[in-house]
């Protein structure tokens, strides 16, 4: 029984971690996109458009 409950705990903790990670990932993605856009603007302002 102990092992089963430990397993349950591990499973749900892992799932929670996964969800948290995914949520944090989404938030981070949004923040990074915004930061990238801002940086891009800044750099474009300073260095002009991207060149090949």
């Amino acid at each position: 029984m102990g092992e089963y409950m430990d397993g349950q705990l591990l499973f749900y903790a892992g799932a929670a971690l996964l969800v948290l990670g995914a949520a944090a990932g989404v938030i981070a993605l949004v923040l990074l996109v915004l930061a990238h856009r801002r940086l891009d603007k800044q750099l474009t302002r300073e260095y002009g458009g991207k060149r090949q």
Partner: protein, 959 residues
């Protein structure tokens, strides 16, 4: 109309002038295309082939940011270079107007210029150097792009670089001034500095390096790099850079980004080795400004860190979930497995318990082999019932029952109630008449050998002609059947009662109440004589299913010469079975309804019983006179055959000498004998109380059993069979002796409570409360001692010390007399405190203390914690507790004086009963006293040994 040049171009107006010449806007007369004509007087004197080469080089140039050169025309001592007209203005114009350029824009122009430079520098054979890159030589088109103009074709790079022709201050590299800031071979810091300063000073004053008298520094692509850097510097800062490269003030944050400032700084490094070595390299720096910007790097780092962290978190989460799932599955599987194992264990336990119960039942019923088989089955996987299984096996094997005994060996279920039972001469086969069938069984294995149709009558007979041949009242005729080969040997006329001569030569048969008997040759079945009963017949009830065949007498003499027949009405006649002798009518009629008897040699003995009395008589056939006889109210049972004359009355069975009339006790039972069989020294007797007793030379054997009544008995060669009409079974018993276990014999006439074997194994001490005897192990008396004041004896203990045995007799007053157990001599006396009359005895083992009160249950306690762990109550009184290795043995004495032991494991569970246990030697040998003069020994059998024994027994049984 303007000046026409070469008949092709018309000069429209001048649009510029400088050190290199004048620049005109013109038009191609035919094409109408606007062109630029750059007039340069200095090139006129150039050698034609040099000029042609340079023209060809310029005309082949084709690049987006370089105006196309179409033609060179020489006219009026002027060489006109015809090229694309670039609309727009040169960058020096807005600079001079003080206009400010955005860095992004400047970077874009820088990239375009670098592409142009890269193109020029890569032209074969050695590249083309611009040589005078400055804002004035960069055209800005209306579209916002640049065109690099006004490069001097004379600055085509030679193999070792070009030699500068002219330069623009501030934009020109130190090499233009002839200054070499590369690390000299062996410079001194001072001299290098002085040299440069001197040259620089010279340059600054307008003199060329040629005039300085110093060494010439050749220009290369890095010079253009410097000039570009200076141009960009001016564009960004609005200030022309210092002429001395060492005095350049770096661009600050308001003028340019740090990265851009760094690029320009590197491009303008005084030491050409420290600049970008190619236009491509500098272009690459501009193209990767965004990438190399610290902010971009920071962003990427942050992005990567976030990605890595979140990936790790998600991975960890996924991993944990996966592991958790696995753990749950494992736990579930383990729980399921445990449940299955538990169920399996329970099933196995139940199976084991069922097998044990069945084994016990089988043992009780006498099916010993079956009991062994079931016990072994339980032992395979006993679960928690290991002790019970072992005990069951021990009981079935009887390893500790060493006395001579008739041991139940088989229990055979019959399809119906038996009417007759017979045992073969060697005891290997048993036959039973059941419901019109004769069934024959192997005594050892219990397996059926034959199933033969018989005459349906309680009067039908079955007997063995010999070990392999059965004689029986078959359906439709008397038959002789070969059991080995399974075939009929001969058939005769129908018969029920059958008689066989002792010499196995003659068979007599009669069918129910027919008034004649038929005599046959036993070997062939040939009818040898028909004996008429002269109208008389044997008594047969109308429904002969209820007839008792034992009521009638029908017997042949040993040689087949005489036939004894009893008749209805109490008649008894002796008829010659051979020849034509005279019949002898012993009774014409009588009140007797039950006759038994037979022939022993030339004697005929019989018993006859009526309602009121019973007679027994012996008749000498030679004289036909009665030689002896008895009368009694209780019936006599007789067995008369070639072995002797035996008769029982009440509870006594004797053998009778027909000559002397002497009676010799064969058996003495506790209840009246209802049936018996004698075979040599052995006898089996069934009693009215349902008991069955066995005897050897009048000595009762162990193995008394109950479960009767027993009406049919058979005894041959150590095998006994018993059955009755009411139950569908045959019980078989086998004589077991253990001569190998015998260690001493003694004279049992001395009544004793206990027996001990001396340590040297040469003598036996038999003692009771008031006396003891010492005998040799052959039963010879060595000493007998009568104890004084026996009523004062508190206890007697046999003690082994220093290899000798002693009997310590303790009196209530504390006296202790010690007798030598080998000689009976008094060897010591001492006075000890009176023994505690507390009615309690204490025994000690390694781990336990057993307290045995006189009245109450003996309890075992742990020595360590004094915790009660077992109740040792059993039938009788606990006398001894002995530890033998891992085993414990508790000895008891019953109210009847029977001694026995219980073999227990270390947890006090009973493993076996040890009947008649009298002593345990120091080496763990168990000694048994049968009370009849024999001491036997055994060791303790382990479970594995018992299993091996059981398998061996089964194998033997199957054979």
């Amino acid at each position: 109309m303007g000046t026409i040049i070469a008949g092709t171009y018309e000069i429209e107006r001048q649009i510029g002038a400088g050190g290199g010449g004048t620049v005109y806007l013109g038009k191609h007369l035919r094409l109408g295309k606007q062109v630029v004509l750059k007039a340069d007087k200095r090139t006129l004197n150039a050698k034609p082939e040099v000029l042609r080469r340079e023209v060809d080089a310029l005309k082949n140039l084709s690049h987006t940011y370089i105006p196309q050169v179409y033609d060179f025309v020489a006219e009026n001592e002027t060489v006109y270079t015809v090229m694309d007209y670039i609309q727009g203005e040169s960058l020096d114009k807005p600079l001079s107007r003080g206009e400010h350029f955005e860095q992004a824009q400047v970077i874009k122009w820088a990239c375009q210029l670098l592409e142009a430079l890269q193109y020029l520098h890569s032209r074969p054979p050695h590249g083309i150097l611009h040589g005078d890159l400055k804002p004035a030589n960069v055209m800005l088109t209306p579209q916002g792009d640049i065109r690099l103009i006004d490069f001097n074709i004379a600055l085509a790079l030679g193999e070792e670089g070009a030699v500068q022709v002219g330069f623009s201050r501030g934009y020109a590299s130190p090499e233009h001034y002839g200054i070499d800031y590369r690390t000299p071979a062996q410079p001194t810091a001072e001299s290098a500095e002085t040299q440069v300063d001197d040259v620089a000073q010279t340059v600054l004053t307008g003199e060329s390096a040629q005039n300085t008298g110093g060494s010439r520094v050749r220009l290369d692509v890095r010079s253009d790099i410097y000039s570009l850097g200076a141009t960009l510097y001016h564009l960004l800062s609005g200030v022309k850079p210092a002429q001395d490269a060492r005095d350049i003030v770096e661009l600050d944050r308001s003028q340019a980004s740090q990265a851009v400032a760094e690029v320009i700084r590197k491009a303008m490094s005084p030491n050409p080795d420290l600049r970008y070595q190619t236009a491509e390299e500098m272009l690459d720096a501009f193209l990767h400004l965004r990438e190399n910007d610290p902010r971009t790097r920071r962003f990427k780092r942050a992005r990567n860190l976030a990605a890595a962290t979140l990936s790790a978190v998600c991975l960890a989460g996924a991993g944990m979930s996966f592991l958790g799932l696995q753990q749950m599955e494992r736990a579930q599987a383990a729980a399921a497995q445990e449940a299955r194992q538990g169920q399996e264990a329970e099933r196995v336990s139940k199976q084991a318990l069922a097998a044990i119960r069945e084994a016990e039942n089988a043992y009780q019923e006498g099916a010993t082999l079956r009991a062994i088989e079931l016990s072994l089955q339980a032992m395979e996987d006993p679960g928690p019932y290991g002790v019970q299984a072992q005990k069951s096996l021990t009981d079935a094997l009887g390893v500790y029952e060493l006395s001579d005994r008739f041991r139940p060996s088989q229990y055979i279920e019959l399809p119906g109630q038996p009417l007759k039972v017979a045992l073969s001469p060697q005891g290997g086969k048993a036959a039973a008449l059941v419901d019109g069938q004769v069934q024959v069984f192997d005594v050892v294995s219990g397996e059926q050998i034959a199933d033969l149709p018989a005459e349906v009558s309680a009067l039908s007979d079955v007997l063995f002609l010999d070990e392999e041949t059965l004689l029986y009242a078959g359906l439709g005729g008397l038959r002789a059947y070969d059991l080995t080969h399974g075939r009929e040997l001969w058939r005769a006329q129908t018969a029920t009662a059958i008689a066989l001569s002792a010499d196995r030569s003659t068979v007599a048969a009669v069918y129910k109440n027919e008034s004649e008997a038929l005599i046959y040759d036993a070997a062939t079945g040939v009818l040898s004589k028909i004996i008429s009963f002269h109208g008389r017949c044997q008594p047969v009830p109308s429904n002969d299913r209820f007839a008792d065949p034992e009521d009638s007498l029908f017997a042949l003499s040993g040689d087949g010469g005489w036939l004894a027949v009893s008749f209805e009405g109490g008649g008894l006649r002796l008829i010659p079975a051979r020849g034509n002798g005279e019949e002898v009518e012993h009774y014409e009629s009588s009140p007797f309804t039950h006759f038994e008897g037979g022939f022993f040699g030339h004697y005929f003995a019989f018993s006859a019983a009526g309602t009121d009395n019973s007679v027994f008589a012996v008749i000498d056939l030679n004289t036909m006179e009665q030689t002896g006889g008895f009368q009694d109210r209780t019936p006599f049972h007789v067995q008369v055959d070639e072995t002797g004359i035996y008769l029982s009355s009440n509870n006594l069975l004797v053998g009778l000498d027909p000559v002397s009339g002497e009676q010799k006790e064969v058996a003495y039972t506790g209840a009246d004998i209802s049936a018996f069989q004698v075979d040599g020294p052995l006898a089996i007797a069934a009693t009215n109380d349902g008991g069955l007793a066995f005897f050897d030379q009048a000595r009762p054997l162990a193995g008394q059993t109950e479960g009767g009544p027993w009406e049919f008995l058979g005894l041959s060669n150590g095998v006994a069979v018993a059955a009755d009409r009411d139950r569908q079974r045959l019980r078989l018993f086998t004589l077991e002796t253990h001569p190998e276990s015998q260690i001493a014999v003694y004279d049992p006439s001395f009544d004793h409570d206990e027996a001990r074997l001396s340590p040297d194994g040469k003598s036996v001490l038999l003692f009771r409360y008031d006396a003891f005897q010492v005998q040799s192990v052959q039963g010879e008396l060595i000493a007998q001692v009568t104890l004084s004041e026996p009523e004062q004896v508190y206890d007697q203990q046999y003690v082994r010390e220093d290899g000798k045995g002693y009997l310590d007799v303790t009196y209530y007053d504390g006296r202790v007399s010690r007798y030598d157990a080998a000689t009976g001599e008094l060897v010591g006396q001492e006075q000890l405190p009176p023994p505690d009359k507390g009615l309690e005895e204490e025994f000690l083992t390694d781990r336990y203390k057993v307290v045995s009160p006189l009245h109450g249950a003996p309890i075992a306690y742990t020595l360590e914690e004094n915790k009660a762990v077992a109740d040792l109550t059993a039938e009788g009184y606990l006398t001894y507790v002995t530890q033998v290795g891992d085993y414990l043995i508790t000895e008891y004495i019953t109210a009847d004086g029977e001694r026995y032991g219980l073999l227990r494991n270390d947890a006090w569970a009973v493993l076996a009963r040890l009947p008649q246990l009298c002593d345990i030697l120091e080496d763990g040998t168990l000694v048994f006293d049968d009370g009849q003069g024999i001491l036997r020994q055994s060791r303790i059998y382990s479970a594995q040994e018992l299993i091996a024994l059981g398998n061996s027994k089964l194998q033997g049984g199957k054979k």
